[in-house]
């Protein structure tokens, strides 16, 4: 979510898009849709909600985007809007479904060919656990973790998005990290030994390969 200085300012592109410039709108979409989609996906836990929110957000931008005057960060403006849309949708649907570890979102992550397949599998497993643990957090903790850790917003930016003080963000984040660590440790002693376990699994697999030869 870091703006790049060599790009055109978002607010200029937004003005053009509102004026009906299709290319400008496409550029705006390509620039920010991923961010919005990922945030909505992890906050809601539902792919369909994430898609709808992303769609609605860009349509809302066309309608109300002229209200953005370029004072705050454009990213914060978008996050704030996406958060509002997700919460509205969750309230409407009254469902807070759990992320399925076998859900297709995991499949969307492209495989890294430079990583050993077994190591990649172990990593995917560990990150899936963390992702599940994050989703199991209460909503007000979850959104802080998503914004500050996964989307790397500063505390000030996260406070602007959520509409609270920086102190609140700090305390929520601290509490969320405690809960996260507890949850992961309770599950399988995961954090304490996950590296060692990964290495031993790797060694066993390599040994098995040598044994076959």
């Amino acid at each position: 979510m870091r703006g790049e200085s060599d790009k055109k300012p978002d607010v200029d592109i937004l003005r053009k898009a509102i004026g009906g410039d299709t290319e400008a709108f496409a550029e705006l979409y390509d620039r920010w849709s991923g961010t919005v989609y990922r945030f909505a996906l992890r906050l809601s836990g539902e792919q369909s909600i994430a898609e709808d929110v992303t769609h609605d957000l860009f349509m809302t931008l066309l309608r109300d985007g002229h209200q953005y005057e370029g004072r705050g960060k454009f990213s914060s403006y978008l996050y704030s809007m996406a958060r509002h849309l997700v919460l509205h949708r969750l309230r409407r649907d009254r469902r807070f479904s759990q992320i399925d570890s076998d859900s297709e979102e995991l499949d969307q992550i492209p495989a890294d060919s430079t990583i050993d397949p077994l190591e990649g599998l172990a990593r995917a497993e560990s990150t899936a656990r963390v992702r599940q643990a994050i989703f199991a957090l209460p909503l007000h903790y979850r959104e802080v973790v998503l914004l500050c850790h996964l989307h790397e917003l500063s505390y000030a930016e996260a406070a602007e998005v959520i509409g609270c003080t920086i102190g609140t963000i700090c305390s929520r984040l601290s509490r969320a990290r405690d809960l996260l660590a507890q949850r992961l440790q309770i599950e399988s002693g995961y954090l304490a030994d996950h590296s060692a376990r990964r290495q031993s699994e790797h060694r066993v697999a390599v040994g098995a390969k040598w044994g076959e030869k």
């Binding site: 991923g34 994430a50 990593r123």
Partner: protein
């Protein structure tokens, strides 16, 4: 260092692990896995069909916006700004309302203000039905006068059949011979009995409800059944 080694050699190892190491280890590993997760998350992209959907809606909304802007201002006037020609929908609607109101007034004047008279003024409510296998019969208007019905129903007992249907029986209802039972459908809001009899609970029947009168051969009312509009009539 030697203390640590001593701890390791002794049983204090577990204490050392649980009290000190896991916390720092957890923090470090938590940061590590969160970093890994953030890196993975950045690779997730919205589905391609979503882009297509958004772009199509963008084009559609701008096309609609353009067409609304291109509309001549003449067609976007408020109703009271419309010209008073025969094509004016507001004028036509007003005329229609006046016509219907006049018709209603005329029909009221023709039927009079007496409830019993209005009962017979409408053919639909005066139709004698043959419900429950009873033979259909014609009732002369003179057989159901206000006086006879009023005198009979002054000794009514109210019995609530269920939440929906209120059944009111006269003293004679139990002994009423079915061959004399004739059912007439009457809208409850036109039933004069509900105004003349204080101890009846017919007021609970909303307008649009229907009443069925069970009449004896002498034309007196033996039973009245009120079915609310929402009931299974």
């Amino acid at each position: 260092m030697s203390e640590i080694r001593d701890d390791i050699m002794s049983d204090n190892w577990s204490t050392l692990e649980s009290d000190n190491w896991p916390e720092t280890c957890s923090e470090a590993h938590l940061n590590e896995v969160l970093g890994e997760l953030a890196a993975q998350e950045r690779q997730i992209a919205p589905p391609a069909h979503l882009r297509q959907r958004v772009m199509e809606d963008f084009v559609r909304s701008h096309a609609a916006d353009r067409s609304s802007k291109e509309l001549p201002s003449k067609t976007r006037r408020w109703p009271w700004q419309w010209s008073w020609s025969i094509q004016n929908p507001l004028l036509l609607a007003s005329c229609a309302c006046l016509f219907v109101a006049a018709l209603l007034l005329i029909s009221r004047d023709g039927s009079g203000t007496n409830g019993a008279d209005s009962l017979y003024a409408q053919d639909s409510v005066a139709t004698v039905s043959a419900t429950a296998g009873l033979p259909a019969a014609e009732i002369g208007r003179e057989s159901l006068t206000g006086e006879t019905a009023q005198s009979t129903t002054s000794r009514e007992q109210v019995r609530e059949a269920d939440d929906e249907v209120y059944t009111i029986f006269s003293d004679l209802a139990d002994s009423a011979d079915s061959e004399y039972l004739i059912l007439i459908d009457i809208p409850a809001d036109q039933l004069w009995i509900q105004e003349s009899s204080d101890d009846l609970d017919i007021a609970r029947a909303a307008a649009g409800s229907y009443a069925r009168l069970a009449l004896g051969d002498d034309g007196t009312v033996r039973a009245i059944q009120i079915t609310p509009a929402s009931g299974p009539y």
